[in-house]
């Protein structure tokens, strides 16, 4: 049982770390808009996804 004396402070330490990370995230706009950013990666840089089209030139359909 004496292992608890080390384990519990360790969890508390982790907890403080996680809390600090979360506070940082809140202060840096990470939670201000929860809908739009989720979609943005889907829209970002779609052109470079086409192989052999590194120039960013719009392909002519």
């Amino acid at each position: 049982m004496s292992i608890l004396i080390i384990m519990i402070p360790l969890t508390l330490l982790l907890l403080v770390g996680a809390g600090m990370a979360f506070f940082w995230a809140v202060d840096h706009d990470q939670f201000d808009d929860l809908q739009t950013p989720a979609l943005l990666p889907l829209l970002d840089d779609t052109r470079t996804m086409t192989p052999g089209d590194e120039s960013g030139e719009e392909p002519k359909p």
Binding site: L4, I8, L15, F23, D29, F31, T36, P61
Partner: protein, 829 residues
Amino acid sequence: MSAAGCWHCGETLPAVGAVLARSAGIEHAVCCQGCRAAVEWIDQLGLADYYRLRSEPATRVASGVDIDRDSTLWSRPELARHVVRELEGGQRETLLLIDGVRCAACVWLIERSLGSLAGMTSVQVNASARRARIVWDDSRCTLARIIETLARTGYQALPLDAATLDDLRRRESRAALKRLLVAGFGAMQAMMIASGLYLGAFDGTDTSMRDLLRWFSLLVATPVVLYAARPFFAGAWRSVRAGALGMDVPVALAVALIYLSSLIETVQGGREVYFDSVSMFVFILLIGRYLEMRARHRSGDLSDALARLSPPFADRMGDDGSLQRVGAIELQVGDRIHVAEGSGVPADGTLLSARCRVDESLLSGESRALTRQCGETLIAGSLLLEGPAELRVERVGGDTVLAGIGRLVTRAATQRPRLALAGERAAAHFVARVLSLAALTALGWTLFEPSRAFAATLAVLVVSCPCAFALAVPAALTRALAVLARRGVLVARADAIEQLAMASHAVFDKTGTLTEPHLALESQDPGFGTCDSRDARSRHTVAAAVANDALALAGSLARGSRHPLALAITTAAGNLATHAVEAMRAETGGGLEGIIDGRKLRLGHAGFALTAGVADTSLDDAVVLADDSGVIAAFHLTERLRPGAKAAVDALVADGLSIEICSGDAPTKVAAAAAQLGIKHWHARLRPADKLARLSALHADGARVIVVGDGINDAPILAAADVAVSFASGADLAQASSDIVLAGDRLDALGCARRIARETLRVLRQNQRWALAYNLLAVPFAALGFVPPWLAAIGMSASSLVVVLNALRIGREQPRYTAALRPAVGVGR
């Protein structure tokens, strides 16, 4: 993409003279020069991908001339001073309200197009709030450039007052999120350690380990109580100072007492600690508060809604009659301003020019042209339909009628007393009872056995405030919110559910609420004698065919216009053959003119369509189709009842509510709608203040009132209502002052909402009774010391579980209700 609509904004293409725009090497048909400019501008920036990515069409774009004129204005230092904040190192910051943000592709487009400007530091677009926070380097970019770029891309941007940069809402939601996290982490840890303590009670772990675990849980619970629970303490302190026992007082008292007593127990090595309970209690209450805050923020912001209504610019006239374009904030009383046809009135003023026609739907709720003569007053925010007009400014800024409506809304919202007061009284009673019970226990034990007085008193305090009691209300309300949201009923204030269930009266606005905002063709008078005998081309002898012929002509003309009346006629013409229209011309405030088969036709109000002058007064309200020799047909347009309006009214009446209509419209129209819906009580021609007076009268009789409205003129009465309902398609201002927003177009969601609200209240009462019964059973045993920790833990979990499971029953019966409403549809889902 098909050629059905404009490539950019999706609106109907004009019948003649379509404009072509080049994007990614392909020609696309667009509806106007503004949209063409936007398409080509977006293509030039290399952002043509936008058209592939978007899920909604864009909004129609203003023409280039207006963009240049309006955006350069923001470079005026007198105006920029109000809206821009200076940061360090020559950086400037502003908050823009952006119209036309429809989907994520818009955010992408805005960020990219602004990012292509030199000197941009950061662009943050919030799609749901339709706001963008922009920081730029003032030496390399200007506010005018930014707004111009946005306008060219197709978004109207309006800089908000610099005072809004602090953004109270953002601060509030950030703080709430942090508190929620601290409480959640603390509650989890405290529970974990507590389970160790309970297990220890079985195993008989030595007291040193028990004390160590207690100190750890004290460590975990301390930030929860001192940081996360601070809003409760602040609220309690406020209400105590105001001389009332508010909802926060029992919460704060319970939290403080449990925490302090557990602290003392820990230090003394006493019987029991309750750090887990207190953390969990705070966490659950914070979840409820957080959900409520999120809903409140989503429902809209009053200041944004007001800012959208009034035009940002005005044309000030100099002494020599020259015009200078200035910001509306710069106007002063006594200024002479010029208002162009089709634009908004920037300030309240007296009309100096002879006459004009305005749309004051802002005040009356009815979109119809009103004639104003010289010397009469025009109000800010109304739309000049026929002008131009010259005004002498009489009231500006906070003194305008528009700002007054805003204040009415705010004041009414703060005077929302009835049920809130009842709730506070109940809370006060609860505290009083718990405290007196604890005092009695303490007294009793002091008389018999003083050594056990403290422990027993503590047990009473703790047991009278267990998880079941804390969960009873939030669990039921959260479940109800979710069930309602799935049915298209968004609840902005959680206690609106209770008030919806308790309501005794319902007051409806008419236009746009019971009726649809769109007009429909009611009747048509074809051929006015002269027309029939004269019209040699009319080969039809059957009256219906003549009518269809006229309707087809009118529809062909109307197709080119977006005016609500024209839209109604186009819809009515539907599938009838379209004629090719040549030399199409629209006269603002008049009507449409064009040549079909060599015949010059005019469609519009009688004064415009009949060049020879109007003789027949029956044509006053009609849309007239005429050629040079006279009337061909007259169309009478009417409002259509909103889908589900009858069902909603019937459901509410069956539920025992008394229903009335309060409308700003003319008595005959209100009477007609009331007759159709079977509503006996109605009031017509009410202004916002009259509606408010009617509501006060109902309140004075002890009624609890549901108000359903959608217009700006309804905002004050909505704010003062016990529960206010509006439509997601309605005015921003109306939504901002509503408790409940109906997402769809159908009104029968309201009957369903009322039903669920009543069910919620029933479950809520059951939960509270259960928690009370559990407490009544547990308190005596706990007070007498018969409850060991493990039994308390099981009892507590079981009682909480019962409460949550009971709450999950809400909304279960709903399918049967839907089936009963529409038997033809079938049973079940």
